[in-house]
């Protein structure tokens, strides 16, 4: 199996971080790159989406939303077996939500393989970010309220719903992805011409810089593996493998192409490590962020990059017979 060059940049960052190199990208650059990636993904999706009839996409969008609500409900009972309620709820939210960079690497992988996929997967990415966060907070709060009923009544903490919705809906990634989608759809292929060098051609090169930084960040998280051990590794590898099949199942149900089924598998298998940690920290502060972020970022993210994406593509190809 040949490793995609973009993944090599991730490995370089990982190795440099591991070896305690002084390599460090300025945080302003990291912020800039993430703004660029989110906008570029949005615009790319918007350009394609403009060609599609809305009514055809609507039922698919509803199914994807259903999947977003379903995934955390599926994995929460499994996690409860070993974890306190708040941590199980928080991890369920992380794995129900999605990782934009994992999606981007999936796009790069399929493009390199010459496999086409439906353009509405960008819309699916946007739709999947939020439902799991809502379910995660509800699960955590239900438990906290029950504990408060027995205890002194102070166990419920964290942000109220209004604030939380505002945070998630108007968070950086939602605004940029949806904004990019709208700009792409409004501008159309001709309108976007003056911008396509930056937003379309430079997508992959910029992704490599971002992945270099991600390698450094993940290297910093490896310490948690030593502390949390096999259980966390089990979560970090087992959940994406199992969840990829949920995505693949929904993809087949929706009648997507093998490429589209792969992308839905990648989305279902990916775990959020930006939106979910920020939202959960504020909404469920009792949960241990090292646990959920360690699994999502320290294990699942590299696993999906190195092994998962090609594997889900094989799964999808086998299932769809394409």
């Amino acid at each position: 199996m040949q490793i995609d060059p973009v993944v090599l940049f991730f490995l370089l960052g990982l190795a440099a971080g591991w070896a305690k190199s002084d390599l460090k990208l300025p945080s302003a650059l990291y912020d800039t790159l993430s703004v660029f990636l989110l906008l570029a993904i949005g615009i790319k999706g918007g350009l394609e989406l403009a060609k599609q009839p809305v009514l055809q996409i609507l039922p698919q969008a509803l199914l994807v939303l259903l999947m977003g609500f379903l995934i955390p409900l599926l994995i929460y009972p499994l996690l409860r077996w070993r974890l306190p309620q708040v941590d199980a709820a928080s991890i369920a939210a992380h794995y129900g939500s999605v990782s934009v960079v994992t999606y981007a690497v999936g796009v790069a992988y399929l493009t390199r393989q010459g496999v086409s996929f439906e353009s509405q997967t960008t819309l699916f990415l946007v739709l999947l970010e939020m439902p799991a966060l809502i379910v995660g907070v509800v699960l955590a709060r239900l438990g906290a309220a029950r504990a408060a009923g027995e205890g002194d009544g102070t166990a419920v903490a964290g942000h109220g719903w209004g604030k939380l919705l505002h945070e998630v809906l108007l968070g950086k990634s939602m605004v940029l992805l949806l904004g990019g989608l709208a700009i792409g759809a409004l501008a159309g292929p001709d309108g976007i011409k003056p911008l396509d060098r930056l937003y379309l051609d430079l997508f992959k090169p910029v992704l490599t810089l971002f992945l270099l930084e991600m390698g450094l960040v993940v290297a910093g998280k490896l310490g948690i593996l030593r502390k949390q051990g096999f259980f966390l590794v089990g979560i970090g590898v087992g959940l994406p493998l199992a969840l990829s099949w949920v995505g693949i199942g929904f993809g087949v149900l929706m009648g997507l192409s093998p490429g589209g089924v792969t992308m839905l598998g990648v989305l279902a298998a990916s775990a959020s490590y930006i939106a979910a940690p920020a939202a959960m920290r504020m909404a469920v502060p009792q949960a241990n962020p090292a646990l959920s972020l360690g699994a999502a970022l320290g294990i699942t993210f590299p696993f999906n990059l190195l092994v998962g994406i090609p594997l889900y593509h094989q799964f999808a190809t086998a299932v769809t017979g394409g």
Partner: protein, 100 residues
């Protein structure tokens, strides 16, 4: 020139709390504060400051002793249990006492 004694509250905490804290300052009619990005190491582990979920901030504000103490107590009660949070008070001498 005349220097006046006031109390400075310094808060080191997670960047995610910034908006909440600013709201609290407004409600308490604190008249000014300074927020900077912070890096370092503490009970919650090392903060590299190079990743969204891993930012720390340091806030400084100057008020009269009673307001600063009350504010620090409220913050400790509200966020102390679950967030990385260190606060300290110090006596400072300022010009233009009417500003604080």
């Amino acid at each position: 020139m005349q220097f006046h004694t006031r109390t400075m509250l310094t808060i080191v905490t997670e960047a995610g709390l910034e908006n909440d804290l600013v709201e609290l300052f407004e409600a308490r009619r604190i008249r000014g504060w300074t927020i900077v990005e912070a890096r370092g190491k503490g009970a919650h582990g090392e903060k590299h400051g190079n990743f969204d979920a891993n930012h720390n901030i340091q806030i400084e504000l100057i008020a009269d002793a009673a307001s600063a103490e009350a504010l620090a107590e409220t913050i400790q009660q509200r966020y102390g249990a679950h967030f990385a949070l260190v606060q300290w008070l110090s006596e400072v001498r300022v010009l233009r006492a009417e500003k604080f």
